[in-house]
Every structure is written in C-alpha cells, then in structure tokens.
C-alpha cells in the first residue's frame, strides 16, 4: 500500500520503459534500480531537445549556440548544487560517474604537485574505509596506498550488517588522513552513522568522504548539514543519464588540491613548460565535459524535486517494510542486512539455501520478467565477510509498487519448485 499523496501509477507513466513488454510477452518488473535507475521522459526529452536544437561546446564558444549550451550546462550545476544543499555552486564538480569522483580525491593525496599538508601521504599514514564498501570505494584507496606506501584499514561489519564502530578509537587515529565510507550500502541497504564517524575523524584531524551513490537518489541529502569534506554520487542511479556524476567538495579543499586530469578547460594559462589552473570546479573538469549528460542530470534533479525527495523516501520505506515482511514467507530465505526499516534504504539482498543467485535471477527474469541483480554487486569483500559468494538483490525506487514485490515473492516460490 502506498500513501495517497504519492501516485505511483502517475509516476510510472513518466518512465516509458516501464510500459515495455519483454520478449515472450513478459511484463517488465524492474527491481534493479540500485544498479541503475530508469529515466523519465522529462530527462530523455531534455537531452534529445538539447542535441537537436541547442548543442555546441561550452565555456569556450562565444556564439549563440555556445551561449545556449553554456547557460544550460551551468544551470545544471546550479540545480545540482541546490539539490544537495551545496554552499556554493563552485563546489560541484562534474565527473563521469561516482567512481571518477572517488578516484579524483584519492589522486589528490601523495601527489608531488600538491603542497597542502592535509593531502600529503606516505608510509605511516593511514586511510580508513569499511568492509561494506563498493569496489569503487575500495580500489582507488588500495591504489593510493600502493603508490604512496600508506596503510589501508577498514571498519568491520556486524552480523546485522551495520558498521562496527567498537574499535573506532584505534582505527581512526592521528595517522589517519582520510576516512571514506558509503552513506548507504548498495548491498545491505544500511544507512551509516555519519555523525559518529565524522566526530572521530575531526578529533584526529582526518578528512572525511562519503560515497553517496546510494543515498542521494533516495533521500534528501544536505552536504552542509552532513558536515563531511567530500561527497561523490552518480547520475544514472538518480533517474539521470549515464556518463555523468558529481563530486562535491568543500571549496577550500578543492582549492588546496592539486589538479587531477590535465587539459582544456581546467587551465588559467599554459606555457610549454608550466601552467596555472582555473579555480574549482573547472580545475577538475579537463576536456569537454559530459555536456548534455549534465543537462540531463539537471532535469533529473528537477524531476526528483518535483516529486519530492521526502515522498520518495516515504514510498521506499513502505516498499521496504512490505518486502521485508513478504520475503519472510519464502522458505530458507535469509536477508543479508538489517531486518527492519530503521536506518536502512530500499535495497534487500538475500540468499536461498542451495540455490545459487545466478539461477534465482535467471529464472525470475526468464519466467516472469523480474529484473533483480545477482552476484557480489561490486562488494566482494562484504560477501566474503558473510561467507557467501553472492546474493540476490531487489532494489526499489519511486516507480516500484507492492504488487511488483508480490510478483517477486511468487517468482521465488517458483524458483524453489524448479530446484526442489
């Protein structure tokens, strides 16, 4: 049951793909938005229209189309800044995805071209992540540790799928230069206690980054209120296009960081033997940016704002409660992650005894057109921690319904019949 104010059927009409029929006459039941969300006509149409009527390069072009594109692109930056409560639009860096944003920050450390002591890194220094991270918030820090000789450490995860803060005093210490954790886990659904971790990071003078790939699309996120230093997220999970992401960083830190990619647009002046750099955000946007993708992401932010992030969150909480309840009836099903909706989002991962998630996913898709994700969801260490090679994950978004969850439960019963 969804609340009266939130008209999910009307919302579904905005997403053309949801009325699609799959081969074999199967309806589409899309429960894989944690992987990537679908796009409303408003986003698709904004992009089409821009390509067809207003496109040109941005920043550098002084003609009519150049102004139209630049205006649309920079307005998208304003929209994204508003969307996340950024104190300044200049703190919004467009990247190609969340992964680039995470790497960008990682490459700022231990770079001889940078002078700020907060970004110095070498043997003895420490980086702290967690065991529930997406590979995109693990590998960049492994590579950084490898480049600099620093040590990578991590928070463990409790059996319930929460961040284990019991050892935080030792884990985050004076050697810690940065702590980077997920705002919300893409497997467990867990929403992490940012304030507690941040308090400790501040005590020891460490910077803190949030991988907000799974939170920004689903809850109102206010970067200023969060109080962290960096936040990365990605367009394609928030009803926006592929090819675009955002790195938000405190203006003062973005100023202090060395450039990452070099090229057009990120410079102030170039001589053959040296260059000076543009102020942020342009300093970090080398080359022609994903212009129409940023504009599409602006339309996505508008769309989510018009629906209302609070409404989206409430709808997802209802779906999650409904799903946790309904899934309990499936024999041998075990949810990996918190069992109730307290501090958790609309992502439900689970195992079924003796049936591999690949088979679960395939049969759900083949037989019923139900799209879930199966595997380790780019969070292999988390699966290792739970001693399982893979899970099946259903993730919900504003366009999902309780009857789709019913379909999932029916599908799972069928899967069990096939393998019984």
């Amino acid at each position: 049951m969804t609340s009266a104010a939130f008209d999910v059927e009307r919302i579904r009409k905005d997403f053309p793909i949801l009325s699609r029929e799959l081969p074999g006459g199967r309806p589409l039941v899309y429960l894989d938005s944690g992987n990537s969300s679908q796009k409303p006509a408003q986003v698709i149409e904004t992009m089409r229209e821009h390509f067809a009527q207003h496109y040109s390069n941005v920043g550098r072009a002084m003609h009519a189309l150049g102004s139209e594109s630049t205006e649309a692109f920079e307005t998208a930056r304003d929209k994204l800044a508003d969307f996340i409560g950024a104190p300044s639009r200049d703190e919004v860096v467009f990247t190609k995805n969340a992964s680039e944003g995470l790497n960008l920050v990682a490459y700022a450390f231990g770079n001889p071209a940078g002078e700020d002591p907060r970004f110095r890194m070498g043997p003895g220094d420490e980086i702290v992540i967690s065991e529930m991270e997406h590979h995109s918030n693990i590998v960049p820090w492994q590579l950084l540790a490898r480049r600099t000789g620093a040590t990578l450490r991590w928070f463990p995860v409790t059996d319930e799928g929460r961040l284990d803060l019991s050892g935080i005093g030792d884990l985050v210490n004076e050697r810690t230069k940065i702590v980077s954790i997920a705002h919300q886990s893409n497997v467990l659904g867990t929403v992490n206690p940012v304030a507690a971790v941040l308090a400790r990071a501040r005590e020891v003078g460490a910077l803190m980054m949030l991988d907000a790939s799974q939170s920004v699309p689903h809850h109102p996120v206010d970067v200023a209120a969060l109080g962290v230093d960096f936040v990365a997220f990605t367009g394609h999970k928030m009803v926006g296009p592929s090819g675009i992401g955002v790195l938000w960083g405190r203006g003062e830190l973005l100023e202090a960081m060395p450039p990452f990619l070099g090229g057009g647009e990120m410079i102030e002046a170039v001589w053959m033997d040296h260059s000076t750099y543009a102020p942020p955000p342009h300093k970090f946007e080398a080359g022609t940016p994903p212009i129409v993708e940023a504009i599409g992401l602006g339309a996505a932010a508008d769309y989510l704002t018009s629906v209302g992030l609070e409404a989206v969150e409430a709808h997802e909480r209802e779906l999650t409660a409904y799903a946790l309840d309904a899934l309990r009836e499936v024999p041998t099903l075990r949810v990996i992650g918190p069992g109730d909706t307290h501090e958790r989002g609309a992502t439900v991962s689970f195992t079924l005894d003796g049936i591999h998630p690949h088979d679960v996913g395939q049969i759900l898709d083949d037989a019923f057109g139900i799209a879930v994700r199966v595997g380790h969801h780019c969070a292999r260490p988390l699966h290792l921690r739970f001693g399982i090679p893979a899970t099946t994950r259903a993730s919900f978004y504003l366009y999902n319904t309780t009857s789709e969850i019913d379909a999932l439960v029916r599908g799972l019963h069928h899967v069990q019949k096939v393998f019984s």
């Binding site: 591999h356 998630p357 690949h358 088979d359 395939q362 049969i363 083949d366 595997g375 090679p389 393998f419």
Partner: protein
C-alpha cells in the same frame, strides 16, 4: 516459458546429483579458476594415463547450476576418453557456447553436453558453462608440460 530452453532437465539433474565431484589423488596437475563477474570457482585436477588416456578428472567448486552441471557433464565425458578426443569436445563446446545461439551443435561430438545449447543465448551465463571446461583445458596443458 523461455526458461525451459536453458534449464534443461539434464542440467538440473547434473546439478542436483553431480557426477565425480570431489578432489582425488593422484593427479598430474591442479588448477583453480574463478569467474570474476559472479564469483563461481572451480578447482580441477587431471590425472593422465598411458597412451594419451585421461584417467581421472576430479573437481570441487561452488557456483550456479550451470557451472556445476557443466563440471559434472565434463567429468562424464572426459574420464576414460583420450586427451585428443576430449580436446575435440572442448573445442566444439566452446564453439557452441560462444556462438550467441547461432551455432548448430554437433550432437555426435557433444553427447549430453548438447543440453547447454540454450545457455549460448545468455552472454552473462556463457562463462559459467565454460568455467570447468576452460579449467580442464588449462589443467591438460599443465599436466603434459
């Protein structure tokens, strides 16, 4: 239901009742293969005999029904055959699986393995079906090296 083209009775049977499973001694080579996209794993041992015979293929692993059944079918086809014969089967199996559903399988060569024809239409699962077979090929190379 499309499912039926992939989850053949024979595949489900092999999955539920895997043949020759378990790691055995003696062996000439042991390899460990992983399918990184899904985490399916297999450890495979090969013991060769005189005259180019495959004396034993033993394995252990974890993964989906397709990868486990493929290992079981491989065991049945390979143990007791000649290295050369089995390489022919591996080649034909690979050709079938990588054929995107467009390849007409040679049943004479493949035997039971023809049941995997339906998998070829699912690019994401092709690696599952091939995991054991690629491990076997690798193990053969190492045992004769």
């Amino acid at each position: 239901m499309i499912t039926e083209s992939m989850y053949q009775e024979l595949i489900l049977e092999h999955y539920k009742h895997p043949q020759g499973r378990g790691l055995r001694e003696p062996f000439d080579a042991e390899v460990h293969h992983v399918n990184p996209t899904c985490g399916d794993e297999i450890t495979m041992r090969v013991k060769l005999g005189d005259g180019g015979k495959v004396e034993d293929v033993s394995y252990d692993g974890q993964g989906c029904s397709i990868s486990q059944a493929a290992a079981s079918v491989l065991y049945e086809l390979a143990s007791g055959s000649s290295v050369e014969e089995t390489l022919g089967v591996v080649d034909e199996f690979t050709r079938l699986l990588q054929g995107r559903g467009q390849v007409e399988p040679d049943e004479d060569v493949l035997g039971d393995a023809v049941a995997f024809a339906g998998v070829a239409k699912y690019p994401a699962r092709v690696k599952c079906a091939l995991l054991a077979w690629m491990a076997y090929k690798d193990a053969l190379v190492r045992s004769t090296a």
